[in-house]
């Protein structure tokens, strides 16, 4: 070991030496021939000095090379850390770990580069789903984002019960048919019932049906897929999907749910309120199904523009 | 001479095959005891015993049959004793007798019982010869009496057992249902016998079971009806005959 250390030291010294001589070559070249009038002696002297410097470089280099060749054996595995030691395993056929490691490293690098590219593209064409500017809060977002879809069950329950309590004619019940993911059954007045599928506290899917339509299948499980047979509620399901995207707040999922439920709650008067724009109840035999996301203004889908 | 030899050979063959059968069933039984002793039940042990004993019986029959020449008349004479291993013999005896030597020959070829057993037998013989005929008679009667007693006890026990058994069977015919209960239940379901609404509130002192049951078709006292009706059907009250509005 000590021997090695010495060699390393001398190799370092040789490197320094090499560096010095190379610098000298370049300084010499930079200074150039002092006068242009051209005394032959001066010029030839310059060339000779340059030659000397270059020979010094060559000799230093060869010395360093010699030293480094003696070191080579030892330095082989070191720079790659523990994975380098894996590569020393002689029985590669049996444990192809090292090659796999290299492969996965390659892939993860690729993934990273693709992801960063995609990220750059997305920041350029952002969907503006959130009201928060994407740039400034990136650090905060990175912290909150992973938690909102893995919220513990009791927290979800808490949020749901507070929302449930805050509206008179909106009742929410929580189901967990598949363990973790919560499925909310929402009943709005005597107008409609909806199934809201949550992932953590994020809304993933909403389906709206009539108040008197079945939310359950014949075998008693929640029916998550069949659309309503009524045109009004099919339309409402579409609107609810749009609202779900609009109220998508990954860093403040609770507010997202609350605002979505407020919006959904405004449908208690689905059949009893006329359109604010045209003053009529029906348009295409469908009542005003649109509620503005911010003002909750009532109008027909066609009267929006 | 040739006939005799043939008969001997045949009977030996028969004996060997019987003995082989017997041996097989004994090994099977031993295997059973060793490997299935946890799950083994009494009937299957009895089965094995029965097989073995029947095989012994057939072996005895073979030995006693008239076709078998009297084996007693044949002499087996060991000519050479060899201390070395005899492969053929070992194979023949399934590894039990590796060599025909001085150690095993006296055991396998003996014709008399062991000396101490012989001695005991002799003792018993002398004892028996010393007894007087009266004593023998007495002992025989004693023995018979004891045997009879045991038979009686066993018989009694079996009778009792049978009685118990038939008692259980008999009970299921008699005691799992009662015709009176059947009748009571059927009349209750069909006519409501015993189910009529009774004035429990008015007569709290009376035991419900002592109350006279109302006749099925008979009219219940009007006081009862009017007391009960409002509590069940408040709508019946306005519909009194006197209040009928005139139809136009």
């Amino acid at each position: 070991m000590a021997e090695n250390l010495e060699t390393v030291n001398s190799a370092l010294a040789a490197t320094q030496k090499l560096r010095c001589s190379v610098t000298r070559v370049f300084t010499h070249l930079r200074e150039g021939v002092k006068s242009t009038k051209g005394e032959v002696s001066k010029e030839s002297m310059f060339i000779r000095q340059l030659q000397e410097a270059l020979t010094a470089v060559t000799s230093d280099f060869s010395e360093l090379e010699k030293l480094s060749s003696s070191l080579h054996k030892f330095t082989d595995g070191i720079p790659m850390g523990n994975s380098g030691l894996l590569s020393l395993d002689p029985v590669q056929d049996k444990t192809p770990m090292y090659t796999q490691l290299l492969q996965s490293y390659k892939w993860s690098t690729k993934l990273q580069s693709h992801a960063s590219l995609a990220g750059a593209m997305l920041t350029q064409n952002s969907l503006k789903r959130t009201s928060v500017p994407s740039g400034g809060l990136s650090a905060k977002r990175r912290k909150t984002q992973p938690t909102c879809h893995a919220t513990p069950a009791h927290l979800v329950d808490n949020v749901v019960t507070t929302v449930d309590r805050s509206f008179n004619d909106l009742s929410l019940t929580v189901n967990r048919p598949q363990g973790t993911g919560a499925v909310l059954q929402a009943t709005v007045g005597r107008t409609l019932s909806a199934i809201v599928i949550l992932r953590g506290l994020l809304i993933e899917r909403v389906i709206v049906r009539g108040y008197h339509e079945n939310l359950h299948k014949d075998n008693g499980t929640l029916d998550l897929w069949t659309p309503s047979k009524y045109r009004v509620f099919q339309k409402l399901t579409d609107h609810a999907m749009a609202a779900m995207l609009h109220y998508h707040l990954p860093h403040l999922p609770e507010i997202g749910i609350r605002s979505f439920m407020t919006w959904l709650h405004s449908y208690t008067t689905l059949f009893s309120t006329a359109c604010h724009r045209c003053g009529k109840y029906l348009n295409g035999n469908i009542p005003p199904t649109w509620r503005d996301f911010r003002t909750l203004e009532v109008c027909h889908e066609n009267c929006r523009q | 001479m040739q006939n005799q030899e043939k008969a001997l050979e045949l009977s030996l063959e028969a004996m060997i095959s019987r003995v082989q059968d017997l041996k097989n069933s004994i090994t099977q039984f031993i295997m059973k005891l060793e490997h299935e002793h946890e799950t083994l039940d009494w009937p299957s042990v009895l089965d094995s015993f029965a097989i073995i004993s029947s095989q012994i019986n057939t072996l005895n029959k073979v030995l006693k049959s008239e076709k078998t020449p009297p084996l007693r008349n044949f002499i087996l004479l060991p000519l050479v004793l060899a201390p070395e291993r005899d492969e053929d013999l070992e194979k023949l005896t399934e590894g039990r007798v590796p060599a025909f030597n001085h150690e095993v020959v006296p055991n396998y070829l003996r014709t008399k019982a062991e000396p101490d057993i012989e001695e005991k037998e002799q003792q018993l013989m002398t004892q028996a010869s010393q007894l007087t005929p009266e004593m023998i008679q007495q002992q025989i009667t004693n023995c018979n009496r004891l045997a009879n007693k045991v038979i009686e006890i066993v018989g009694n026990a079996r009778d009792e057992w049978d009685v118990d058994d038939s008692g259980i069977r008999g009970m299921s015919g008699i005691n799992t249902s009662q015709p009176a209960d059947t009748n009571a239940l059927i009349t209750a379901v069909s006519f409501g016998k015993g189910l009529k609404i009774r004035p429990v509130q008015q007569a709290p002192l009376q035991q419900p079971s002592l109350q006279p049951r109302q006749d099925v078709q008979g009219k219940a006292p009007s006081s009862i009806k009017t007391n009960i009706k409002p509590s069940i059907h408040p709508y019946t009250q306005p519909g009194r005959p006197g209040q009928r509005p005139t139809m136009s």
Partner: protein, 210 residues
């Protein structure tokens, strides 16, 4: 099943019932609706036998929309109309009560006709016949997604004005009493019964419904 309004369409003297029905059907079809079959609502009336102390009437009504169901409506002096929803075996039970309730001599009333669908609305145009003679026209307008009369009456009115114009009815008195309750098929039956009673010329004692 949703909120339903049953109303009568007057037949002018110079036109036959069939002509008026055709006229309405044309209007409804012009709105863009699809024919979706026929329907029939019939009503049979049983009268209690004279030896019973109270004169009572039981109407047994069938609606082809609920083919397995019989509605039995009890009307009698001094009691509110009470409606029992049962399966069709109830008809047989009524026959077993011959000694107490007899079918009325007057012929059966029924309303029969075409069924139209227009989005979430159902429109049924029925010709009322009394023993085979056309007596008038009953329209049934249903808004299927809603179950509360109070919520959707205005909406329903707007829809009806679309093709009924001046004949648009006001809120039927039966529904007025149950504006806030959940609508049931029984409510449709009660409306039909009210109209049938006017067609047969029976005295209608309007009772507050339960």
């Amino acid at each position: 099943m949703g909120v339903t309004c049953v109303c009568q369409w007057p037949v002018p003297d110079n036109k036959s019932v069939q002509q008026v029905v055709d006229m309405i059907a044309k209007r409804v079809e012009l709105l863009g609706s699809n024919k979706s079959g026929t329907f029939c609502v019939d009503c049979e009336t049983y009268q209690s036998s004279p030896m019973m102390m109270l004169q009572k009437t039981v109407h047994i009504i069938h609606n082809s929309e609920q083919p397995m169901t019989s509605y039995a409506v009890m009307e009698g002096p001094g009691s509110a109309a009470n409606c029992l929803v049962a399966d069709t075996m109830f008809d047989q039970i009524m026959q077993r009560l011959k000694g107490f309730y007899m079918p009325k001599k007057t012929p059966k009333v029924e309303s029969k006709g075409q069924h139209y669908e227009l989005g979430d609305f159902n429109v049924k145009i029925g010709t009322v016949t009394l023993g085979g003679h056309a007596k008038g026209i009953l329209l049934e307008i249903e808004y299927t997604p809603c179950v509360v009369v109070l919520d959707c009456w205005n909406l329903l009115t707007e829809f009806m004005q679309g093709f009924m114009a001046s004949h648009t009815p006001s809120l039927p008195s039966y529904l007025a009493n149950r504006q806030d309750a959940n609508y049931t098929p029984m409510d449709t039956i009660m409306q039909y019964l009210d109209h049938f009673n006017t067609f047969t010329g029976r005295k209608v004692v309007q009772q507050p419904a339960r």
